[in-house]
């Protein structure tokens, strides 16, 4: 492996993607909670998308920060 350029951790890439996904899913679910579609999914009143989006966002922020480039992760 090239020692002159340190490889960015895969967990950083995962964190970035999860942040994007968390924002998109949270925002979309929030919008559709306020503007319900004509054919809602089963158990739509649980608003699972809002909670799932928030969870993904939090996980994504954690991994992005924890494994950011330049930080030694052991």
């Amino acid at each position: 492996m090239h020692s002159d350029t340190r490889l960015i951790s895969i967990w950083f890439f995962i964190g970035i993607l999860l942040v994007c996904y968390g924002v998109l899913i949270f925002a979309a679910s929030w919008y559709y909670a306020a503007n319900p579609p004509a054919n809602p999914v089963v158990l739509a009143d649980l608003h699972i998308g809002i909670w799932w989006g928030l969870m993904i966002l939090v996980i994504g922020i954690f991994y992005t920060w924890k494994f950011r480039p330049g930080k030694h992760n052991g």
């Binding site: 895969i10 998109l24 949270f26 979309a28 679910s29 809602p40 699972i48």
Partner: protein, 571 residues
């Protein structure tokens, strides 16, 4: 078939869902990320060791998750959800007894020989242990199997896209497979492993929603079981072992001996310990301890996978208003097939955003399986076929270049295989048939090679050849004369799945028997040539100086205990 952007606009009537802008954005972001990772990693894969074995620098966690993700292809996601709908919780056997003992055996017993021998592939180990003929036979059969398996992945993915989104099957096959081809050709195994870990996370986040919301709808596990009993009175879908006493007592038509000996004893050990697709990920570990821990970490997660695959199938039995049917009946009646249960459940619970994540999870699963096949094919072709037989003394850079081109060619051949797979009615049965052709005999050969010093090169070669040929012969026998099934599976009540189990078992027994007989009739190799390859001639580093919680055997015992408890709970 040439790619055409117009295919994107081709739809079929009756699709399950329509994607919104946010769903398409989520899928597009995924494709951008995997291609970006491939592009980023290209600079880190300039030598053969880096391209084909990720520089042997992966941590136990990354190697372990990649080891598992490479197996999370169509077989795991769509196929086993379908099997869970068709056969009930019996499908879980392919995750527990059909995986856990073998994965632990790989980590504790076999990995030291693979790792210490410094082989780059499973056929490479056979070359060191049994000579060139065994390697050639193994490499060629493996190459055939990987492209066919890759074709299965592609077809399954295209089927999902067709059913769920109405996308043209040809469009799905070409876009996903070329994406895999590009990122693997750029970054080799390193890129495949990075993306497999990413795909592993997405698969869990995308698929877990179905099980959680589904169990909320049914009122938990007991509520789900009650609904299944109400929907299918008199049929048993929710016990793992109690209905395996006779072939006719369970929907799979199999006896417990077939599950224990055929699946748990031969097929799973063959797949998890000798299929280079998964073993290659573990060989990328940075040291022996990491290489031993990787399959154990994989086993721990493997035990949990039924929650995102089998549970959705069972939930389908409980909550779907219609009864799903087999392919031929669906073609005649227009009903949905077993294979569509996962997309149907996805459409039932996931709104905009979550739907995009769920579709991304499916695509990620298919692509990780496909990448596993492509990287393994590229390595075996380059090292075990091209370098061994076509150009022996080229530079390292030349072999890396061959590996990159081979990746693209492998993808194109796999696409051809996908169109062949479309002709088969049942994806799962076809996959099982493939396993028993090649994997079961190979396990016999590798196992004897590692554990029995007296096994000779001639014994290894003829055992492998006879085992493989006998497996194909038994398969053809049943195809041409269906009543032969009762002879191979030892019961007139046996069904296809049982036949696959017993065919694997017989082919393994034939391989081992022939290997032993021929070995005893031929001159053994001198002990000095077996150092680092065989039990008794290999100095395996002791981990006695490590604290208990850092030793692979400690974690293997923990996983084995959890495995035993789970089987008792769902007995």
């Amino acid at each position: 078939m040439p790619f055409s952007a117009a295919l994107l606009l081709t739809t079929v009537p009756g699709r399950l869902v329509s994607l919104g802008a946010v769903d398409i954005a989520i899928i597009a972001l995924y494709f951008v990320m995997v291609l970006g990772i491939g592009l980023y990693l290209k600079r880190y894969t300039t030598t053969g060791e880096e391209f084909f074995l990720a520089g042997r620098d992966m941590s136990a966690w990354v190697a372990g998750l990649s080891f598992l993700a490479a197996n999370l292809g169509s077989l795991e996601l769509m196929g086993w959800a379908a099997a869970a709908y068709q056969y009930g919780i019996l499908a879980t056997h392919w995750y527990w007894i059909g995986a856990i003992p073998a994965m632990l055996f790989l980590g504790i017993v076999m990995m030291p020989f693979y790792y210490i021998s410094k082989t780059h592939s499973v056929p490479g180990y056979l070359k060191l242990r049994f000579g060139e003929p065994s390697r050639a036979l193994s490499a060629i059969t493996f190459a055939i199997m990987t492209v066919l398996m890759s074709g299965i992945n592609m077809y399954s993915m295209a089927l999902v896209m067709n059913v769920v989104l109405g996308w043209d099957i040809n469009f799905s096959i070409w876009v996903s497979s070329l994406t895999v081809g590009v990122y693997v050709a750029l970054g080799g195994l390193l890129s495949a492993i990075f993306n497999e870990v990413l795909q592993f996370v997405l698969i869990w986040l995308g698929a877990m929603v179905i099980s959680i919301v589904g169990l909320i709808e049914t009122g938990g596990w007991s509520g789900m079981v009650a609904r299944i009993h109400a929907n299918f009175p008199g049929q048993e879908y929710t016990h793992l072992w109690s209905n395996l006493g006779h072939f006719s007592d369970n929907p799979m038509g199999i006896h417990w001996t077939g599950i224990v000996l055929g699946l748990g004893g031969v097929i799973s050990f063959g797949y998890w310990t000798t299929d280079f697709l998964v073993v290659q990920r573990v060989l990328s570990a940075r040291d022996l301890r990491s290489a031993q821990m990787a399959p154990i970490i994989g086993a721990a997660f493997k035990m949990a996978v039924p929650f995102i695959v089998v549970v959705p199938g069972l939930l389908g039995l409980a909550v779907l208003p219609e009864h799903l049917v087999g392919e031929s009946q669906a073609a005649a009646t227009g009903a949905h097939t077993y294979n569509e249960v996962l997309p149907l459940m996805l459409a039932r619970y996931c709104g905009p955003g979550l739907l995009g994540l769920g579709i991304t999870a499916l695509v990620a699963g298919f692509m990780s399986g496909m990448a596993g096949n492509v990287t393994a094919f590229s390595t075996v072709w380059t090292y075990d076929i091209y370098r061994a037989n076509i150009r022996k003394n080229a530079t390292d850079a030349h072999y890396v270049s061959v590996g990159r081109w081979c990746t693209i060619i492998g993808v194109l051949v796999s696409i051809g295989a996908a169109y062949l797979v479309m002709q088969f009615l049942s994806i799962m049965d076809y996959v099982q048939a493939l396993f028993s052709f090649f994997i079961a005999p190979l396990f016999g050969t590798v196992l004897l090679g590692m554990l029995w010093k007296r096994a000779t090169p001639a014994g290894g070669f003829w055992g492998l050849l006879f085992g493989t040929v006998s497996s194909i012969a038994m398969w053809l026998w049943v195809k041409l004369d269906p009543p032969a099934l009762s002879i191979i599976a030892l019961s007139p009540h046996a069904k296809d799945m049982a036949e696959n189990m017993y065919r694997a078992l017989w082919s393994w027994i034939i391989c081992v028997t022939v290997t032993v007989i021929v070995s005893l009739m031929t001159k053994p190799d001198p002990n000095a040539s077996l150092v680092g390859l065989v039990y008794g001639e290999t100095d395996i580093p002791s981990d006695g100086h490590l604290p208990l919680y850092q030793r692979p055997i400690f974690w293997a015992v923990i996983v084995a205990l959890v495995f035993a408890v789970l089987n008792i709970i769902f007995w």
